[in-house]
Symmetry: C2
Subunit: 126 residues, 2 copies
DNA sequence: GTAAACTATGAAGTATACTTTATAGCAAGA
DNA sequence: TCTTGCTATAAAGTATACTTCATAGTTTAC
């Protein structure tokens, strides 16, 4: 499928898809070039880009994703190590999310305008 | 307490703390200025900055945080609406995290080097 | 067959979140 | 006192993730 279809289906701008390729997180494996030089993507790009979107949405960088892609070239032990590291990062992010969420729930239940985490006013100085 | 103590306790660079103030997410409520013009922070800054860190870590922007701070000026209904919106965003992020985590667990269990989400090779073209 | 729409590339521009630099005043210990 | 270290500000610089622009070839609809 052509780039515009990919863009529409994964809900990313065309420019972003080309950018991801330039950055190395969309590899040749997903792309054939036609006679006219147009990119022709395999359908697997759709699931792949969804994973990429998830990863970026939760704070991983493009370089993080590149390191995950490049797992292909290294030893199983090293692969496992990197993956476990990433999982630990995700779990840390999950804790942060839960904290942030509880903070917001706290805001809902208290009087936001004076006494709570965001905007609390207290001149006590230590 | 002075800026260096805050920096150390919340584990943020001094420059970042000054930057947050400049961006408006650390307000005067947390700061007194001494005769020498040094900032003197109230102890509440510590919890507050932890919340800020959590929010930033999970994808909220400084402007998002500003909008949460500014809840003080608006109606309860509007406050509740904004907070619920933010909670919804967090829950979306939580789903993304869980997806990303499952993807990584999948990587751990499969043969990473050939058949999986990152780096799958399939020339099928639609 | 021609205009509108889609594709391509490289380079420059933008937004966000910081960090660093340059310069200078204030403070605490030897 | 003097040196080392902490504080201050403004402005410039950096990293990341894109987006836009300029230019040009290709395809499709009429």
């Amino acid at each position: 499928m052509k780039i515009s279809e990919v863009a529409q289906r994964v809900e990313l701008p065309i420019s972003t898809i080309r950018y991801y390729e330039k950055m190395g997180i969309i590899t040749d494996e997903y792309i054939l070039r036609e006679q006219n030089n147009y990119r022709n993507y395999s359908s697997e790009i759709l699931d792949y880009l969804q994973v990429v979107k998830n990863c970026l949405a939760v704070g991983f960088t493009i370089n993080d994703i590149k390191s995950m892609i490049s797992l292909k070239g290294i030893s199983k032990e090293e692969q496992a190590r990197i993956i476990k590291e990433k999982i630990a990062e995700i779990e840390a992010a999950q804790k942060n999310l839960e904290n942030a969420k509880q903070t917001l729930y706290g805001l809902l239940q208290t009087d936001i305008t004076c006494e709570n985490g965001f905007g609390k006013y207290d001149r006590t100085v230590s």
